[in-house]
Every structure is written in C-alpha cells, then in structure tokens.
Symmetry: C2
C-alpha cells in the first residue's frame, strides 16, 4: 500500500522557486576585476530563466551537457539554476587541469556548449579544435582583457540574454534525472564523471542546513571559496538558495588579501575551502575584522593541527573539518563536539574538530577488512571505508556498471583506510595506496605527517614510501619549513621520538621549496614519487 502523499519531485526548480519567492531581496555578491557586482536573488533567478530560454535559442537538446569554465560568480550561479531546471546537465570543468585532461573530459562528456569566463579563454580556446562536440562557446565577460576570437561559435553571455524574447517556462523533470556532472581529479587512472541527480542535489542541500552539519540559516552570509567547478562548490550555492542566505563569491580574486577583504566587508558568517586557503589567510588575520564569522569549514585534505591552532588563537573560531568525495556530493562527514566530548580541553576539542567526525544523516559508513569482512567500530581497528546513501554515486558516467569502486551490494569503496568509533566518528588512517609497508608492517603516512607538522618549524609535510632493500619500503619525509629554519633528519628524529613508534621515524628528510600539488590543491604524492625516482637516476 502506498502512502497518500503528494508526488512532488526533489528538484532544483524547487530551490529556485523558494529563493525567488521568499528570499528575492537577499543578495549574490561577486568580486570582479573592476569592483563588485551585487544582485538580489530575484534578479538572479529572473536572469536564470532567460538563460534557460537562451539555451533553447542555441538549440541545446534536452539532457545535453553544458560545460562551464568559470570562477565563482553570479553568472556561474545562473548556470547552476538554468541548466538543470531546463532539463540539461551542468558540467563544471576545472580550468587548472592540463590540456590533455581537459580534452579527455570535454570529449568524454560530449559537451554541446561551453560557457567560459573571458579571463579563462586563453586556457580553453587553444583547445577548441580538439572539442568536436562543442557547437557554441559563450563568453562571460568578467573584465578579462583577452581578445575575443573572431569565430561564429563565439557568443557573448549578456548579448545572448538580451536576444531572448521571454523567460523559459519551467520544464518538468523526474527527481532521478541527471542535473549535473563533475569529474574526479583522477589521481589514479582517467578522470571519471559523477552524475548527480536532482534528488541528490536537493537532499544534500537539506543536509547542509542541519544543526549538526553546517547549520546554514537565513542569517548566514556564505562564502564558498571552494571553486564552483569542484563538486558543485560542496553544494553551498544550492544550500544558500534553500536557506535564503546572502552568497558572497570571490570571482577571480582568490588572493588572501582579496578574500580577507570580502570576508570582513560583507561580514561573512560561513566560509569553506581547502587548508591551503586558511594557511594563506593566516598572516592577514590580525588586521582583519572577522567578528561575524561563526564557522569555517576545511575539506579536501587533512587539516594540520598547527593551522587549526593558529586560526583559533587569531579569531576565536575553531576550524571544522569536513570529509567528502566527488562521488559523495561531496559531504560524507562533518566534525562536531557531541555530548560525550563534554569536558575535553581546548586542545582535544580542536583535534577532534580536525577529524572527519560522524557521517551526515542518510549517509552510512562501514569498514571492511582485507578478507571482505566487516570491522568493528571500536575506534581502533582500521578497515577500508565504504559509504552508502542517496547522495552517494552508484557508478560513473559512461562506464559499464560494476566498476571496481563499488561493491557487489552497491556501496562506494572510498579507497581510504579509516577507523570508526562507537559514536560514529571517522578517522582517516590513510589512502589505501599511500600506506607505507615497512618490514611487513603498515606505517600510516597521514599520522606521521600530522606528527611531523606539529613541529613549530614545519609548515607542511608529506610522507611517501620509498624502496628499501632491507625493509621493503621506508618512509621519506618531504617538508616545507619556516624561513631560516635548519630543520633536518636529526631534528625530526628528536621531535618524533616518543610521539610515534621508533621504527616509523623516517631516516631521510627532504626540505623542499614547495610541496607539489594536484590541480585541485591536494598534495601530489605522485609528483613526489616521480621526483624521488628522478633523483635516484
């Protein structure tokens, strides 16, 4: 017997109608090269409805992929709305990828049209002949000075909106229809496309409003520093629509000074980004008014304790860790202090907030050992972390079902080794492939990195396994130090003694001028391994 409730889809159009009708007076604020664009939400939605009509004008078919190369901007928000609500699929692209990866991804997605910020044209246009499916390139003039190519495929965004006779009427969708597409960063193998549904986007937005996750409310001023090409900017634009917040967008102005100025001038209450962003802002904190700030969410890679401490001391705000994946919309877990943690000291509280924490509602986690058996959630025993839920991927775009990333019973294999305690708090022990196996025993590179980063002269640390004749593998510590430091292997040994097992302590330390990163800002252990291999030759 079915329940007798209204059959209303969980779709992006619901979010759009809500922000238009109830929060039309709230604002989207975008930094531009010549100032700031401030637009009430009702106008943003009105423009999105015209944009949907423009896609009709360009004969973009239903379900076609609409690619975007854009900074975090109002026009990008308009695309977030217009593309899915008109029955097409929003495909956000990371302009920091290499040409070969971009070409692969655009062709794998078979993008029909690309929307490109003018300042990013130099990245995109030279590749255009490699994109046979792309029929139109719509340029969003963000104040860039790049000349526009004289080519019939090129259109101007604002001119196109002006050509439209009327806003497009709404298109009915099924909540399981695809709404957007984002590719994994592909640290191993080819990038893979994750195809979000309207349903997963709406459920994820609801989760971000939860008191124990991000608690996004109408009173918030939300700043997604995480790029809008990266997993729907962690879902924050959609959550902002649902809650009715002001939304502050940095545009191309990603310098620490520009971000600090935005945060202070607009009295930002909630900001989200990767640890490198928080590290970059650190020197500016003493002279920046962040009195409105209530929550800073860090994700994408592990949050060093030293960074969390420095932020806490400078602002009074403890940075909150979140943990997710492109395949998980992305939020899987978000840390917080629960009643069982009452009585912890500030240092322990900060450490706890630096772990992934408990899974969000609707998402379930389990640990599986090498034999495929479940591992107890005792906070000690590690296993491969697997996750399930309605906001988690079941497969990859264009791939055959049954990919190795999914178990037979449909859980996502995260590729991470974790522990879970009896209260559901996750701790990531390591990436499966980043464990160092020495003398037949595993060394956790993540734990080792955290301990090394506790040294006052170490800014950042990355540990990789290097071949060793006697032990199979030994850990190599790659570090970035503070200016003038004479940190070396002896200093490391002195620091780590008593903190980790003695056989974990790396014999070798490399002090590097810079830690190599992937295009999404994560430490590239692949590049470190290549560097090590090249130095051995």
């Amino acid at each position: 017997m079915r329940g007798l409730m209204q059959d209303r889809p969980l779709d992006v159009a619901t979010l759009m109608r809500r922000v238009e009708r109830m929060f039309g007076h709230k604002r989207v604020i975008t930094a531009t090269t010549n100032g700031e664009m401030v637009t009430p939400w009702h106008q943003v939605v009105g423009r999105a409805r015209r944009l949907a009509a423009a896609l009709d004008l360009l004969d973009v078919p239903p379900r076609a992929r609409v690619g975007t190369f854009g900074w975090n901007s109002q026009r990008h928000v308009e695309l977030y709305l217009a593309v899915p609500t008109s029955g097409r699929i929003l495909h956000t692209l990371n302009h920091r990828l290499h040409a070969a990866e971009l070409t692969y991804i655009v062709n794998d997605a078979a993008d029909d049209v690309l929307f490109v910020d003018r300042s990013l044209l130099p990245t995109v246009w030279p590749l255009i002949e490699q994109f046979p499916t792309v029929r139109h390139v719509v340029v969003m003039d963000d104040g860039g000075t790049e000349p526009l190519p004289d080519d019939p495929r090129v259109r101007d965004y604002e001119a196109l909106l002006n050509e439209v006779p009327a806003p497009a009427p709404p298109v009915a969708v099924d909540e399981n229809d695809a709404a957007s597409l984002c590719y994994t960063s592909g640290t191993t193998g080819r990038p893979k496309g994750v195809l979000y549904s309207h349903r997963s986007i709406v459920l994820h937005a609801l989760l971000l409003l939860g008191a124990d996750s991000f608690a996004i409310s109408e009173r918030d001023v939300v700043l997604p520093i995480v790029p809008m090409f990266h997993v729907n900017a962690w879902g924050l634009p959609y959550a902002s629509m649902l809650a009715g917040t002001d939304l502050v967008l940095p545009g191309p102005a990603m310098s620490p000074a520009a971000l600090a100025s935005q945060m202070s001038r607009h009295r930002v209450t909630f900001a989200a980004g990767v640890p490198a962003i928080w590290r970059g802002l650190l020197p500016l904190l003493p002279q920046t008014d962040l009195s409105a700030l209530r929550m800073v969410v860090s994700g994408g890679s592990a949050l060093p304790e030293s960074l969390a401490l420095a932020w806490h001391q400078a602002t009074g705000v403890m940075i909150t860790s979140s943990w997710g994946m492109t395949e998980a919309s992305p939020l899987v877990a978000c840390s917080r202090l629960a009643t069982v943690h009452d009585g912890l000291g500030q240092e322990e509280q900060r450490a706890l907030l630096g772990t992934p924490g408990p899974t969000v509602p609707l998402t379930e986690a389990r640990l599986i050992d090498d034999s495929g058996d479940p591992v107890e959630h005792d906070g000690v025993t590690p296993g491969e972390l697997q996750v399930a839920g309605p906001t988690i991927a079941a497969g990859y775009f264009g791939a055959e079902p049954g990919a190795a990333a999914f178990t037979d019973d449909g859980w996502l294999r995260t590729g991470d080794i974790a522990t879970i305690d009896r209260y559901g708090y996750l701790r990531i022990v390591d990436r499966t492939k980043d464990l160092v196996k020495s003398g037949g025993e595993w060394i956790s590179s993540v734990e080792l990195e955290n301990e090394i980063m506790a040294h006052p002269e170490v800014v950042e640390a990355a540990v990789i396994g290097i071949p060793d004749d006697r032990w199979g593998e030994r850990p190599l510590a790659c570090v970035l130090t503070t200016a003038g430091s004479d940190f070396d292997a002896a200093a490391l040994r002195a620091h780590l003694t008593g903190r980790v097992a003695s056989w974990w302590i790396p014999e070798q330390v490399w002090v590097l001028p810079e830690i190599p990163r992937t295009p999404t800002g994560k430490v590239s252990k692949l590049a470190l391994r290549q560097l090590h291999a090249s130095r051995q030759q």
Copy 2:
C-alpha cells in the same frame, strides 16, 4: 538521462540504523506511575526488532494496520520503529475521542491488532466487540491497575517480546510505501485518515533538524508533550533518532507539576505542545529550573500574546509558533526572526514569533481568492491558504481521489484564510468557516480573539458568529476570565475601542466557567454554537 546515484530509500529503517549505530548510548526516558524508565537507544532498537518478530508471531500481515492507544512512552517509540520497518502501518489513535468516533476510525482503518496502555483499557475494552477486524489486543503495562480481561485476544507486551526466538530481519520497503496513519480530528464531517509514507516521514525529520526550523541537534534533550497519537508527535521521535538526542516522554504524567519536574531534572532543551500546556505550566515557572531550555514550540492553535509575554518574562525564552495540519506531517511553517526583522523591539519580536512564519523547505504556500485566482503575497490581501510539497497529503485513506480538500492541480486546501508577506511569512486570518460576516463584510474571529485576550482579566477568548436580523451575523465573545473579575460587555467595549474597527466590537459577552474543547485540545466552536443555539430555545 538518469543520475547515477545510489537508489537508497528514504525509510524509517534508515533512522533506526542511525540511532542504533551512532547514538545507541543516548537515552529514552519515560515517566511511569512508579518512577521512570531509562533505556539506551540501542536497547530500544533491539526491543523494536524483537517487537517486529512478535508481529510475525501474531501473523500480522504486511500492510496491516497496527493500532495504538498509548501515552508518550518508550514502548510507543518501539511501535513507531517496529511497525513501519516490518512493512506494516502504524495507526495511532486518540483515546480522548468519543466511543462512536473511535469505533468509526478503528473500523475505517480495519485495524488488525491494537496495542493499548493498561491505564487506557477502560476506554478501549468496552468497545472491543465493535471492532470486528481486531484479532489481538496487546496490553502495555504502564502501571495501571485495571484488571486484565480474561480473553484469548489479550496478550501482554513484555511476555510477547519474551516469546520471540530472535529479532526480525529487516524488511525491504519502497520509500513511497505507507508507514503510518493518523486521522484528522474531524471538526467537520467524519474523521479522515492521512497515510504517511516512509519518504514523507524521513523528509519531515530532516526538516526538523534545519537551523531555521527546530534545529534539533545531538546536544538536545527533546520533550514531545504533544501526544504520540497526534501526527507522529509532530515528527519529534523520528527527528530525535536522526539527530541522536535524548528523548524524554511524560507517559501518563501530564500534570503541569510532573511536566515541570521532567523539564528541570532532565535539563530539557526543546519542548513542544499546545498553548494549553504552556498556560498550565505558567504558575510553576518561577520555582522551576529551566536554564537548559533553548526552544519552546507551540502549535495546534494560535498562541495568545499574553501567554508568550508571560513565558518570556519568566524564562527568558520566547515561545516559537509553528503551524501545521494532520495532512501536512504536520509542519508547514515555523516562525523565526529573519535579517529583515533586525531592529524590531522585543514586543514586536514576540508578536512575530507568535505568527506561523515562513514555510519550511520543500513546502510551498499560495493564496487563492474566491474566483480561484492567485492572490499577491503582499502581507495584506487575504486568500485561502493552499500548500504543496512532498510531506503534504494528496488524498485520504480509503477515499476516492479528488476529494474537496484538494485542488485539481494537487494542492491541499487548508480551509484557512491567510496573508503571506513578501518574505513568505504566513499569518492566519481565520478558518474559512469561522469568519463572521456582518453587514456584508468579514470580521476575523482570530484577530478579534487576540485583541480580546490582550485584556489583563481575560484568560482565553473565543468568538463565534451568531445570527442577527439586521446585520446577518454579529460576533459573540465567549471568555474565560481571571478569578474575581467583573469583566462584561462594557469593559470589552472600552478595551477594544481603538484596537479594532468599531463595528467589529461584539455587543454580547459570555463569561463561561470553561471553554469547550475538541479531543485534541482545540477550542470547539461547534460546541459554542450548539450552546448558543440551545440557549435561544
């Protein structure tokens, strides 16, 4: 093209697994006649799994209705879990209804088994021969002293759980399957059954976690004073499972003294009930420690401003209004202070929190005039309030589709006249049938009641329309006054002059020893009209 996300149902089993795995150490606390029962959630879930097996033992078929006559108690929570997760339908019954109504409802639902608190047996057992579909009566011993009937249909709850050889394995459900059933109080016509789905229950629980609705978090201690027979106790038990709160249940101990004691001893942070509850608690507030209380939600009928003021003065907590319907799971709207209300004084803030406020996410509201045309959301123009969303009913149990309560395009007609302002804030002007039409113009009985209740000697007021030869109808004020008051029509006229249009002021005032109520605690205007008619004879 479908999104490639996991096909995981939004079902009650998801809530049950979450509270068991992550919040098993948190507690369900039930007041009983001989003390208090305190049980960790993991045991409650374990018992619910045994209860599901007991339903198998009793041969309760899939999709059968399992009726409950119970106070707010741990066993009732076990039924909330076991019945829907085992593929049956939980049917909560209001034991305060008259025998004829109960008989109608049990037979309309065709309940297969009834679970009855021992103290409620005197209400239920005398009717048992009128319930031909009921095969079993399972008695939950709540310390009542009523003798158990010597009848093969009668079973003891605890004995039944002990008979079960093993907990029941989970039963897969579709998220649109029916999970529970609750009948409207039927102020007009027959009571009608609303059939909630697993999906609507989970979405509604998620909504209650939202920062701008009830913001239920793991740190909360939740006290649903609203009965568990009334629209799933406003969804609070399910929200508590999702968030992992302690859940405090008053059992049969519904006296103000017992409630105050529970709130203070367990440091309740969140409590919800009807205005009559808050009025009853008022005299006890000065000697009750409510320092943990962060939110009090009032619903079911309009919150008098004088009551809100008294609570605010005594506790520092401003009572929050919520507005809902049995047909709406029930929450439609929940008031709060938005950024546009910054700068309001405390009195204005309290008044605003006393209105229904904005709709919760996923629920949409519109106003329709007599001609069926939409009315502008200008905060002034009234229209019939209609609502839509995935937690709103599409029809009634056992009824033909196309009931008068639903529009052709599938919206629920609430039967209330409301205004909506440009920020989405609802104000209820009147029940459609409670408007007084005098001299061809409408008088809002709700507004008039609120103004009358602002008089210091008026405890409660209800206005009905009475026939009038000259004007068609005139308002009659029925009031309950403070002890010793000599409040009369002249006092009313003096009080209302300047507050409402002069032609709104009732010529007649009835000072009653008691305001008649419906079984769910609402003022019964039907009874007042009958009283008026009988006095005219």
